[in-house]
């Protein structure tokens, strides 16, 4: 990497992204526009009519007339002075509430981390055992994949039904003692631990396959020493992703706190977003951003400690972890996909809107999935919901593809925004968009798209870098081909097909993110049959009518299994093995982050 210009670009881009994020948070009152005035008027002066004068008075009271910049400056001054503002709804200072909510959330997070660590450790054991016994077999990963596949809001709903309603081992709602933390911690810890375990055991298997292990073995290193060394070798490659998983927990926490009625930061933010209480949301976002920065700094520092000067700055986060795939592993996703198609097909033939059944009618022959609290056919709602959720997801994915390609062709300048988007959980983006423009299907789509382009951009960057390093691209300047033509006529066609494929693989994941927003009330509103929304409606009746939760939940589980199966099948090596013509440069997704660097072709 010649010179420090790349480093400077990346650093500048990171700083700018951070500044932009803080500015976005600071200007939220202004961005929320006219909606904010009505909200406050309704909340504080419910007796007044929304006359122009009354609205103007509210504007003056909030200082909205100053324009975005002065508003931001006064806000940021307050932040540095320890004043986070006054709630628009309750007219009381925001800081104390946020602080207590944060402490609860951090406690919950600690429990979740413990659960995740235990799960990850258990999942890594087979890899270590195989390594010590010198058995080399591909990671099966089926268990980890199953654990990873469930989004937190869904897992929380299912654990609530199982652990609190059926088994009655744990209390269903509240935050009064350690027993209240078990189910929420599991809901957060299982997917996180599953993913970390999956990544770690892949890295451990790769570590044991390296040559130095044989040397160590021959010089008499014992199993403990050897495992410790391999762990130390495996950890740095996985640490950035562990950091991302931890930051992602904050998004999951919003859903989990809602399901279990925990008065944490997530629930406070959700309340603030649906009430358009911008100052509370601002303070919460700031707290979360601080938390994310802390996690990011800690993982980077840990990486430095582990591999020292060998860390060169990783300009790009990894697009997707490598997953070995084989036919057997495709069987489960395929079965799930077919089942889902059958359910959706059957549901589409039925009427999702009319309430012509008994309220929460039990499942039977004529009503296979039962009826919801309004007496609507759940099979029909789940079927029609698939179209809405997956259709929106398709639009979102295509938008992400377009943004990802454009951004990915300028990877260094985009490093900062890329990292922010990659780390930001869709739920938090959904909170911001909903607070600014009110909850809507449209807003949810924008929110999910705003944070989902990052993996595609990173993949574009990696592929473009390899395409540019190809001899047939390197020679183009000599043939008189200009930069723009190199980009559009040569590099773009080389990367387009694998990217389109990658984008399609993300479809179910995006659908789940949309469903999560729907579940939280940040997406489409009643009576749209949207999966997350159907689940949210059912959860209030979970004790009397578990089927109201089970129907949408099983559809989501099936979609999750398909999502993870596709991601696994999407392991680029398989694709390129089939396309042996060599028409496409080899993939760049499955390299360790240290190897994703500034263009290597330019020496």
């Amino acid at each position: 990497m010649p010179g420090g210009t790349a480093f400077v670009k990346v650093t500048v881009s990171r700083v700018l992204a951070l500044v932009a994020l803080v500015a976005l948070i600071g200007m939220m009152p202004w961005l929320s526009g006219r909606g904010a005035e009505y909200t406050i008027l309704r909340a504080r002066y419910s007796d007044r009519e929304p006359t122009p004068e009354a609205l103007a008075a509210v504007r003056a009271e909030l200082g909205l007339e100053q324009g975005p910049l002065p508003l931001f400056v006064s806000w940021i001054r307050g932040v540095f002075a320890g004043d986070l503002g006054t709630s628009w709804i309750s007219n009381t200072p925001v800081a104390p509430g946020i602080a207590s909510a944060l402490s609860i959330s951090v406690t919950l997070m600690a429990f979740a981390l413990a659960a995740a660590a235990i799960i990850a450790l258990l999942l890594c054991t087979p890899a270590v055992r195989d390594g010590l016994r010198q058995r080399r077999r591909p990671a099966s990963g089926a268990l980890s994949a199953a654990l990873t596949s469930l989004p937190e809001f869904l897992l929380a709903a299912m654990l609530l039904v199982a652990g609190a309603v059926w088994l009655q081992w744990f209390p269903p709602f509240g935050w009064k003692g350690p027993e209240y933390a078990v189910l929420p911690a599991l809901s957060l810890g299982i997917p996180a631990g599953g993913l970390i375990g999956l990544l770690m055991s892949d890295a451990i298997r790769a570590g044991f396959a390296e040559q130095w292990v044989g040397t160590w073995r021959m010089s008499g290193a014992g199993p403990v020493r050897l495992s410790a060394a391999v762990l130390r070798r495996a950890l740095p490659a996985v640490l950035p992703q562990i950091g991302l998983v931890l930051i992602g927990l904050t998004g999951g926490a919003v859903a989990v706190e809602k399901v279990y009625a925990i008065p944490g930061l997530g629930r406070a933010l959700l309340g603030a977003a649906s009430a358009q209480d911008i100052p509370t949301l601002q303070a919460g976002m700031l707290a979360l951003m601080g938390l994310a920065l802390l996690v990011g700094t800690l993982t980077t520092a840990a990486r430095y400690l582990l591999i020292g000067p060998a860390v060169r700055f990783g300009t790009l986060p990894l697009a997707e972890p490598p997953r070995p795939g084989n036919r057997r592993q495709l069987a489960l996703p395929a079965a799930a996909g077919i089942t889902l198609l059958l359910v959706v097909g059957a549901g589409l033939l039925r009427d999702p809107f009319t309430s012509d059944h008994a309220r929460i009618a039990a499942p039977g022959w004529s009503l296979p999935f039962g009826a919801d609290a309004s007496g609507r056919d759940l099979l029909a709602r789940v079927g029609h919901g698939a179209v809405g959720t997956l259709g929106t997801a398709l639009v979102v994915v295509l938008a992400c593809l377009a943004v990802g390609i454009v951004v990915g062709l300028f990877p260094l300048a985009a490093a900062g925004p890329l990292e922010v988007a990659n780390a930001a959980p869709p739920i938090l983006a959904g909170l911001v968009v909903a607070a600014l423009s009110g909850p809507s299907a449209h807003g949810a789509a924008v929110a999910v798209a705003a944070v989902s382009w990052a993996p595609l951009a990173a993949h574009t960057a990696a592929l473009a870098q390899e395409a540019r390093a190809q001899p047939y691209v390197q020679i183009l300047p000599v043939l008189g081909v200009g930069r723009a033509r190199i980009m559009f006529r040569y590099v773009l066609p080389a990367v387009a097909w694998p990217l389109l494929r990658h984008a399609m693989l993300r479809l179910p994941g995006v659908a789940l993110a949309l469903a999560a927003l729907g579940f939280l009330g940040l997406g489409p509103q009643q009576p749209s049959p949207e999966w997350g929304l159907i689940l949210a409606e059912g959860i209030g009746y979970v004790e009397r009518a578990p089927w109201a939760v089970l129907a949408p939940a099983s559809a989501l589980v099936l979609a999750s299994v398909v999502a993870v199966g596709l991601a696994g099948a999407g392991h680029p090596a398989r694709f390129f093995a089939r396309n042996s013509a060599g028409a496409v440069p080899p993939p760049g997704t499955n390299v360790a982050p240290e190897h994703v660097q500034a263009p290597a072709g330019v020496r």
Binding site: P471, Y472, V478, L479, G480, V481, G482, R483, A581
Partner: protein
């Protein structure tokens, strides 16, 4: 009318990677070329020989205006040449073409032979009927016209190599920089290509720079040979003189290694396993 293609006092250095600078005392820049001067004239052929790592490729990149020398300059006739936007270098690209090492890899697998050869003609705004120029270039290098609509994946290695050579010749350059142009070809084909290149030099006044590590090829093709070692030209003169009485240890080592390769000592009877 194009004049000589000249590199004058060219040096090239790149900043040392941060971690290897060794504190304040380590070198800030690593040099790969030191004060190189090389003049090519139309109708002559010069061989540039040197072991790998001697700086041959860097020198070629500088001559192609792909890299900027840290000192010295490249000029064609009286015009100085520097890396820059494609448009401003069109005149130079048409005058100076290049056959890369591994020519087959330099063909976009998505494009047909006709597209591959047409691209530089279009991009460099070459005058004349492009279809005719393409056909002529292919014919010269004995690529059957029937292959025009094939893609590089459908051609043999030798055919690909010839397509890459035809692409360089199609724009009718005054100079050709060829980086091991025949290394991947079998002997009869090697002979065809080398004969073609020497006839272009003799009959059409092409200026050829042949980068090679094979002194046999250098002797056959070039009247003048420059030996590059450790980023310096250690020997520069008539090829036969360089071969017969090398004046530097590096050139002597190259000659000796080449002789050993071409005339290996007979295996003593009974020593074979």
């Amino acid at each position: 009318m194009t004049g000589t293609l000249a590199a004058d006092g060219v040096s090239f250095a790149y900043p040392a990677p941060r971690f290897s600078r060794g504190g304040v005392h380590g070198p800030r820049r690593i040099g790969t070329l030191h004060n190189i001067s090389l003049h090519l004239a139309p109708g002559t052929s010069t061989a540039l020989v040197g072991s790998s790592g001697s700086g041959k490729s860097t020198l070629v990149r500088i001559l192609l205006a792909l890299a900027k020398p840290s000192a010295g300059a490249v000029a064609l006739g009286v015009r100085e040449v520097k890396p820059g936007p494609a448009r401003s270098l069109r005149w130079y690209r048409q005058a100076v073409q290049y056959i890369p090492q591994n020519p087959a890899g330099s063909l976009d697998p998505r494009m047909t032979v006709a597209q591959l050869l047409g691209e530089p003609l279009r991009q460099l705004r070459v005058a004349g009927n492009h279809r005719a120029l393409v056909a002529e270039a292919l014919e010269r290098i004995e690529v059957p016209a029937g292959l025009m609509e094939r893609r590089s994946g459908e051609l043999s290695g030798g055919q690909n190599q010839r397509v890459a050579i035809a692409r360089a010749l199609a724009v009718q350059p005054a100079y050709l920089l060829a980086d091991e142009p025949v290394s991947g070809l079998d002997l009869p084909l090697r002979d065809t290509v080398l004969s073609l290149l020497s006839s272009l030099v003799r009959e059409e006044g092409l200026g050829l720079l042949l980068v090679t590590h094979d002194l046999g090829t250098a002797a056959r093709m070039s009247g003048t040979t420059a030996v590059l070692a450790h980023g310096r030209i250690v020997e520069h003169g008539p090829t036969h003189r360089v071969l017969d009485s090398p004046g530097s240890p590096e050139a002597a080592a190259l000659v000796q290694a080449s002789a050993a390769l071409h005339f290996p000592p007979a295996v003593p009877a009974g020593a074979a396993p």
